[in-house]
Amino acid sequence: MKKIFRIWQDFGEGLRNGLVPMLSKEMRGRTRNWRGPLLLSIYLAVLGGCVVLFLWLNSRGSTVIPQVGLILYSILVFALMLLLGAIAAVVAATAISGERERRTYDLLLVTRASLAGIVLGKWLASVVYLLFLAIAALPVLGVVYFFGGMPLKNVAVALGLCLMTGLGYGALGLAFSAIFRRSQTAIIVSLITVFGLIFGTLIISAIVVAGNPQVSYNPEMTPQITPPQYVFLSPVVTMASVLPGSGQGAVSSFSGIAQRLAGGPGMTSYAMGGSSMLVMSGGPGSGFPTGYTGTKVVKGLAGWAPLAKFTLYQSLLALASLLVATFAINPLRPWLMWQARRRSMKQAANLSG
């Protein structure tokens, strides 16, 4: 019992020794060097550019679109999600490889900070930075309120989703940063993986659904199909489900595209209500070669709301990535240590014998 308590105590101490100094150092560093303000400027310029471009395009037409606020909101939230996902991956991808390149890595490993503490500290620092970026985007999102029609709850959920995207993809970037020695390699691999998860999963899903022999243009002959689980690794489908009006059959073009890519035009979910009921509906004339009909109550994980599923998958992705990162930064590989321990014990036995 004492031994277990001691192990826990050591674990907690190592975690704190890594987490606290790493978090404060990273946050201090981001506010001091030129990269932080530059990144923030580019980020806000892209978001602001989206608003200006949309309003300019909208002002050119003679007719006024009634849903202009909702469409602008959809565009902004999508851009925010992409930006936060990419920034999280890039920022985290330089976290550990940067230590190696700066030659501060060894100095860190000989401290009493545990490997998990170092990794968690790095990850949490990027999480705090993401939170800062999300808050910085609020004034831009506020433009939507000039046009009205957007409940505050939706904005909060969308921001939460963007942050969740950043958490998972940030941890993924950190794992690549621990695996690859060079920051450049880690950044490239992270971005490819992140965009693969965001869009690749949807494209694969669309191809799989289109290639399904059971799916036909005839709604009578097509059975109900549950969308593949891997599409929930992408925030796009979940984002589509939390956009206002998606529950009533798609409002924005973004919502419609996302749903179509994910598994059919009728895949709508009442995620906002927290229901676990997944409704498959649609039919001919939807513009997509599927014919989902009727409704079906799906039980288990498949029946979870997209937001819940996305949260679960991002959490699992983050957990797995952090474990990989912790393992990868360990200079003493466990199997080599095990061999060395055995050798050491044998040697001690020989000496005493």
Binding site: R103, D106, L107
Partner: protein, 304 residues
Amino acid sequence: MIMTRQLQKHYGRVQALDGLEIEVPDGAIYGFIGQNGAGKTTTLRILAGLLVPDGGSAEVAGYDVVCNPRAVRNILGYMPDFFGVYDDLRVGEYLLFYAAAHGIRRQAAQKLRDDLLELVELADKRDEFVDSLSRGMQQRLCLARALVHDPQVLLLDEPASGLDPVARVEMREILKELRRLGKTILISSHILSELADLCTHIGMIADGRLVRQGPLLQMVEASQLQKIMLRCHGDAAPAVKVLECWPGVTALQTVNDRIELQLAGGAQEAAALLKELVLAGAAVAHYSIQEHTLEDAFMQLARG
């Protein structure tokens, strides 16, 4: 305090350490000498818990570096040969960061920071950014970082490399102060004159194996060769003729009117040579036996 037994390490086909056995007594300053690629840095990295040996074992204060790396880290300070600094931290913050990573509470850490900066003579640089410091100052700061948790043992890998003469003298003075504080220091260097001035013990390594180790004086005196310098008045040819034929004479060279050589044996052999030179008609104006240096001992061993 530090002991390795049959330590082995290879990188692919390259055998970096081949049964290395060193023993560093408590409170000693152990100079670890060897040519580039001899295995010094590999040994230090194994002792610091940054590498796993392929064979053998290493202990620091009785703790096996593989079986008990955490305990070793608590009592060991490590300064690598090449290291970086966080360019966005100030000198004081840099030390506080490592103090926190060693689990030292903030208040104690602040006191420690001031003491350490005083020790390495960087107290007036406390609020400056680390990257604005000169190389010598960064070396001293890194040494202060290695001392932040008050370790019993220090592993210093080429601490004076890349430093100008003034910075080297400053570094040497700090190490002497640490010796007075009772730290056991394992220092790898190829600047032998500095080690001779600083170390109590010496270990010579070649091709991953220990060639010789022991107290400094013993190591220097173990050299079987003595360096002789002589100067002739007028023609030096008779002297050179004698020296070329004299058994035990090596490394004979003439620089202007000065003749330098190495002679095997002791004072008796040196006296016999002088007698022979005079008998051969050489006008010897100056004849001196130079003191053994660590460099001589190392060069003798390096040449086999």
